[in-house]
Structures are given as C-alpha cells and as structure tokens.
C-alpha cells in the first residue's frame, strides 16, 4: 500500500516537472560542428553572457552589461550587422562558479546562443572553457586578464579581451621600479589567477623590493587584517590587483588604520568613477562619510582603453553619443565604457564574419588580426595567439578624480620579452564604420 503511494507520488512529481521544461526536445548533445550557425536566423543573432549582477563582484561590474546592451541597441537601431539584429541574453551568476556552469549550460542548451561574449570572471569563466570548446561554441572576449584564455591549441574557440595580468604586471613592475626605486613594496592580490598571473609579471622587476604579499578572498569583505600586515611590514607602495569592490575596501581599510601608502591598481579595479561611488557607498554602510576625491587623489592605475573623461578622444565621443541616446541616466564610467567597447568589438568580428556567419567564420574573423579597436594598444589576435589587448598605459588620479596619463601606452609579451612604447595608429570610428554600408 505504502509502496503504491510512494510510486504514485513520484509519478505525479515527474509529471509536474516535465511540464516545467521544454518537453519533447532532445538534440544529440554531442560535439557541434564548428561550421554550424546555431543562434543565427535570417534577421537575428542570439548571443549570451554570464555576469555578476548580484554578489561580491557585482558592485561596479554589474554595469558592464548595461553598457554592452546600449551598444547592441544602437547596432540594432542602425539596421543590425548584415541585416541581423543582436539578441543579447545576460545571465546572473553572482560570481559563483557553480552558478556559472549552470547558466552557461542554459545559454547553450536552452537559449541556443551563437556565441558567449564577454563571460566575466576568472574563477567563474575558467569552469566553462572546456565545456564551450567541446561543444564548439565561440567564447569571445572573456572579461578577465588571466593567461588561460590565450591557448589556441587547447581552447580554439576562446579569445581574451583585456590585457593579460602578466603583461600588465610587467608594465606596472617596470614603472614602479623606475619611479619608486628603493621603496618597500607590498602586494595585495586576489587569491586566484588574477594574483598568480600578475605576480609573475611584477616579480620580473620588483621582486627584490617586495617585503610582503597579502591575498584576499571575495567571500570575505573584511580586509583590515591584510592592510594591517602591509602597514606593519612598512610597505610604501601597495600594488592592488583587485576587483573594484576590493580596491575600495582596501583604500577604506588603509584609511581606517591611518596607513597612507602609494596605491598602484591594475585596470580591473582602477576606474575612478566606479571607485568614487563604491567608496561613498561602503563608507555610508559603515556609518561614516568620506571624501572619495581625497582618498583617490594620487592613486596610480593602468589602463588600455581611453578614459571616459578624455572627451577629445574620438572613441570616447562616439560612445558618449550612444550613451546619451540610450542610457542617459547611467553614470558614464570606465566600467560601463568597457562593456560598450566589448560589444562594439563583437560587432566588428560579426561583420567581418561575412553575410552568412557561422561559428567557424567568427573564430576566423577573430584570429584574422583585422580587429582595430577603441583600445590604446592593439589586440594580440592571430592564428597563434588569442590574447586580447597587448599592453597598457599608466595614469594618475587628479584631485578632481580626472586622470592624467603619466606613461604612454607600451606593449609587451606574456613572457620575459621587452616592454616597448606603442606607436601604431588607432583606427577612428569612421574608419571602422561598423554601421555604415
């Protein structure tokens, strides 16, 4: 009797469940041929991404997809790419790798996206690279500077976007060595590839000067112990390889314990407008009010995209036009701009893939080396390299939170090669002519 009831109960549940999903559909699920055009119809291209819209990395980063969406809207309103509008699916993974695996499978299996564009985060995205490559899904412009994305042999579908952390670390390291000779240096880094890859670059130049290394974990927002350790070790310069939330937390924790080192922050966490907002916000939650301009004054950072405050830059002016039209109520930060450039770059690749894009064609377009973009240093994309931007410039934050470039763009490799100033020409928006005929 009970057995019958048990079985009946499970059967009822089974029916209830099958009503929830798209029943009756079951594709092969094996390896997709790379020449397939899943997600492409006569008039749309469906793409997806995973972003931290909630959770520890959301402050700052949740605006990236807002910027990207505005550019896709502009593209769609301009008639799309080769007549196809871009359908942009954003899934929240909360910077939680388990969730990333789930939402990426959802994008691939349920939403049937053509490509994943700008999947965000090292701990998160590293869990789906193998899956995307085995399913033959283009995995373009990963929002992270880990070296892992640049591995064309093992991951032919995956391409980076940012300057990788080792390159950036080298440029920072050389700058620090030249400018702060003889000073004590401390590292404050995220406990994952961000930290590991950056130190590989920094150590090439400032290993001897480094007196202390501290790490943080995104799950723990109290960074006072680490900053105290940096203070105790007497570090004059603190290299902060942190996401925006943790740059802000580090600055606040240092101020709280009366520690005023020279912060050098990498591009992932050095956007003045985003940092100002976060500093205010975090301080308010702690029951204090701070002057973010004062806290940020003199902070040194690295970047590879033009700063949004440089309104004379043709690309800044171009994206400001899109911003004013589609998302005027959002603050135009470098982080928002990052998403806009990323979306625009995907647009370029899609256009280069021709009138009948396939997954293989867009991978070929990415590797062609033809993408000339808004960045101040060139992409490293070629047949043998899937590396994103290949260098960076160094800037300083002024008392009014604008920035001044204190070392022009230079490029380098991920190994031990030299750092050389970059003198190449950037294409202008008119030359790229994404929405023109």
């Amino acid at each position: 009797m009970r057995t019958t009831r048990t079985v009946a109960g499970i059967a009822v549940l089974a029916l209830a469940l099958s009503a929830c999903g798209g029943a009756g559909e079951s594709d092969g699920g094996g390896q997709q041929a790379a020449d397939s055009a899943v997600g492409v119809t006569k008039d749309t291209v469906t793409i997806g991404t995973h972003q931290p819209l909630t959770g520890p990395a959301a402050p700052g980063y949740s605006k990236i997809s807002v910027g990207a969406r505005a550019v896709y809207q502009a593209i769609n309103d301009g008639g799309g790419i080769n007549g196809r509008k871009i359908d942009y699916h954003v899934e929240d993974d909360g910077y939680n790798p388990t969730k990333t695996v789930e939402v990426v499978k959802k994008l691939v299996l349920q939403d049937k996206v053509f490509a994943i564009v700008g999947g965000l985060g090292t701990p998160t995205h590293s869990k789906v690279v193998d899956y995307l490559n085995s399913e033959g899904v283009p995995d373009l412009l990963v929002s992270s500077g880990a070296l892992a994305w640049d591995n064309p042999q093992k991951s032919p579908m995956t391409f980076g976007y940012q300057v990788d952390y080792t390159r950036e670390g080298k440029i920072q390291g050389k700058y620090i060595k030249d400018t702060f000779a003889g000073k004590k240096i401390g590292y404050f880094t995220q406990n994952d590839d961000v930290g590991r890859d950056t130190q590989a670059g920094l150590d090439q130049f400032v290993k001897d000067q480094t007196v202390v290394r501290q790490g943080y974990d995104t799950a723990n927002t109290d960074v006072t112990p680490q900053l105290s350790a940096l203070k105790t070790a007497g570090a004059d310069v603190v290299v902060c390889e942190c996401i925006p939330a943790f740059t802000a937390l580090a600055i606040l924790a240092a101020a709280k314990i009366g520690y005023h080192p020279q912060f050098v922050v990498s591009s992932i966490g050095a956007d003045p407008a985003t940092l100002s907002g976060l500093l205010q916000d975090f301080a308010k939650r702690g029951g204090a009010s701070v002057s973010s301009a004062q806290l940020l004054n003199g902070l040194i950072g690295t970047g590879y995209l033009p700063d949004v405050a440089q309104t004379s830059d043709p690309w800044v002016a171009y994206f400001k036009g899109i911003h004013d039209k589609y998302i005027p109520n959002e603050q135009l930060t470098n982080t928002l701009f990052y998403g806009m450039v990323q979306a625009y770059t995907f647009g370029q690749a899609l256009k280069a893939a021709g009138p009948d894009p396939t997954r293989q064609k867009i991978v070929d377009a990415m590797s062609s080396g033809a993408l000339k973009g808004p960045g101040l240093t060139p992409f490293g994309f070629s047949k043998d390299s899937h590396s994103g931007y290949t260098g960076a410039y160094v800037f300083k934050i002024n008392p009014d939170t604008t920035t001044t470039v204190i070392q022009p763009p230079s490029v380098t490799d991920r190994g031990t090669g030299a750092i050389t100033p970059y003198t190449g020409e950037r294409a202008t928006p008119e030359q790229v002519n994404l929405l023109g005929k």
Partner: protein, 356 residues
C-alpha cells in the same frame, strides 16, 4: 528437530512477510520505481531540464540529511554547506590526482570524507544545543572554505579546481548530461533507501526520542550523546555525497559555491518542504531549484530594472517561505498530509498517524 527452536514466532513472521515485504526490499523497490520515473523524465525533457533534474537530485540528498538532523533529532545546523564543500573537493582531488579510480569509489570516498567531518563536528555538537550549536555549525560554513586560501597550491585558491569527469562508457549513446542525471539519481536513491531505513527503524525512534525530551530518552536507556553524533554522521555523509555529486555534475569545486548562504538555503528548504519529513526534503529540493528559476524567468518577462530583477528571486523565495510556514506550519509536506486527511476522513476512520 534442531537444537535451537524458538519456533512459536516463526509462523507469525511468515504471515507478516506474506502481507508486506521487508522494509529494505520495499524501499528498494520504491527506489527502483522512482529511478525508472527519472529515466523516463530525462528522456522526454531537453538537456537543460535534465541538468535541473540532476540538480534537484543532489539537493534532495543534502536536504534529506539535514532533515534527519534537524527535523528528527532537533539539532539545528547552519553549516551543512561545509559537508558539501568537503564532498565536492574530495571528488575534485580524486578525479585530478587519482584518475584511475572509478566514479563510484570517488563518490563513496566523498561520502566518507563528509561523514568523518560530521563525526568530528557531531562530537563537538553533542555538547551544544540550540543557538550555540547553530553558531558553531555556522562557523564551520564560514571557516572551512577558507582552507582553499590556506592551501592554495593544493586546493586552487579562490579559483577552485576544474576537471572533467568521464563516467559514460563509450558504448552507451546517450547525451552526457542525461547520463550524468541518471548517475546522480541512482546514487541519491541508493542513499535515500538507507536513510529511510534508518529513519523507520530503531535508530529513527531514538532520534525522535532525543528530539522530544533528552532526559526522558536517557532515562529509557538511550545514549543521548551517541545518538546525536550518529545523526550528525549520517547527515554529513548525505552532505558529502551531495557535494560529490555536484562536483561530478558540474566539473567544478570552488569556494565561492559553498558560502554560508548555501547552508542557509538548505535549512530554508528543510523548513519549506516540511520539517522532519523525507518527502518534505524532495519538495524543498524542488523549490530550491525551481522557485529560483521561475522567479528569474518572471523578472526577465516583466522587463524589470536590473536592481529589482536581481533581488526578485530572493524576495520571492522569502515570501513563499513565509506564506507556506504561515499556512502550513509543517511545510509543503504538512500541507499535503492535511489535504490527504481531509479527503480520507469520511472513508477511513482509523488513519494511522505517522509523521514521516
């Protein structure tokens, strides 16, 4: 005639056997039927739904373990995610370091590792009660994932470990996710049969006795401390298995997945499904997976602004939890039982009340 003949009992036993099968066999048959249902279900749904069904599977065993601990022995644990963490990392390390081990051995070891941790936690927990126990177990959930930072090279730091589990024999031509769903549910059902047997048996009665009144239980000869530790052990084995299955399914183990929020949502699932009922564990697991998915879809469909959309799933979950607990203090399963009683009352006058 043999020497030992306490024969009078035997005929009675045989008669009982004729009426009902032994519990273990009965539960095994039910599990087999349930497995058949899962297989059919995965065949008629798409691959992504398969993933969700598998997700329900591993949450089910985790919630069932916690139900046994909290619902049956009255020990509140806010740290059950820690056992999942242990299970997940055990599988991750085994797959990466000892690739020759078969999957079933990895899963067994993950359960064992969870159990070992549960034994230690239980030994401490047996001396604590109420809020003190809750606090101690919460510390487990907060502290344990930090080990990944301490042993960065071994456990991969915040980045965690990623790997691919090859479990599908080459001869079997089913999609990977479907196959994985079967493995997950097969493991879960086997574990559930054992858990149900414990719950329905002598140990289960001891659990309830300890929950209801520790003094009375110890007066009737139950070793209260040992019983509490056993409950911790069993529920931690379930947690370890759940974590191991999650790692197997998703190919990842990272500290960001085992935050205290996970432990809290497991406990919420126990309450939502029905405290003290293993069927409740099923409803709780379904709720964990589907309420989240539905409210996300809802937020998408309503084109809400991002700040609202991001928080909607949690808000919806909270509202449902409050409504269910207000309407049915014994959770969803309690609601079902009440409904069933209402429907049956006119027919059967003597209903055998059983709370599990």
């Amino acid at each position: 005639m043999t020497v030992r003949t306490s024969l009078p009992e035997t005929p009675v036993e045989t008669a009982a056997k004729k009426r009902t099968l032994p519990p273990l066999l009965r539960h095994a048959l039910a599990a087999l039927a349930a497995f058949a249902v899962v297989v059919v279900l995965t065949l008629v749904t798409d691959e992504f739904t398969n993933l969700r069904i598998a997700t329900i599977g591993y949450y089910l065993i985790a919630v069932a373990g916690l139900t046994l601990l909290t619902g049956l022995t009255g020990q509140v644990s806010l740290g059950h995610g820690a056992f999942m963490f242990i299970g997940a990392y055990t599988v991750a390390l085994l797959v990466r370091r000892v690739p020759s081990f078969p999957l079933w051995a990895d899963l067994l070891l993950a359960s064992a590792a969870g159990g070992l941790a549960g034994l230690l936690a239980g030994a401490a927990a047996a001396r604590l009660r109420g809020p003190y126990l809750a606090g101690a177990t919460l510390a487990l959930a907060v502290g344990l994932p930090a080990l990944t930072r301490r042993f960065q090279d071994f456990l991969g730091g915040s980045n965690g470990l990623s790997f691919t589990v090859h479990s599908r024999p080459s001869g079997i031509a089913v999609p990977e996710l479907r196959w994985q769903t079967w493995i997950v549910w097969l493991s879960v059902l086997i574990a559930l049969v054992l858990v149900v047997n414990v719950v329905r048996g002598k140990l289960g009665r001891h659990f309830r006795a300890v929950r209801d009144d520790e003094v009375a239980a110890s007066l009737s000869g139950i070793a209260v401390g040992r019983t509490k530790i056993l409950a911790f052990l069993i529920s931690a084995v379930c947690g370890g298995l759940a974590g191991g299955l999650q790692a197997f399914l998703l190919g990842t183990a990272a500290p960001g997945s085992f935050t205290p929020a996970l432990s809290l949502s497991l406990l919420a699932a126990v309450v939502l499904g029905g405290l003290g009922s293993l069927w409740g564990a099923l409803w709780g697991a379904v709720a964990l997976v589907y309420f989240q998915a539905w409210s996300e879809d809802l937020a998408d469909a309503l084109h809400l602004n991002t700040d609202v959309a991001n928080n909607l799933p949690l808000a919806v979950y909270g509202v449902i939890l409050i409504v269910v607990v207000l309407a049915f203090p014994r959770g969803i399963q309690g609601g079902f039982q009440r409904l069933r009683k209402l429907l049956r009352r006119p027919v059967e006058k003597k209903e055998n009340h059983e709370n599990h």
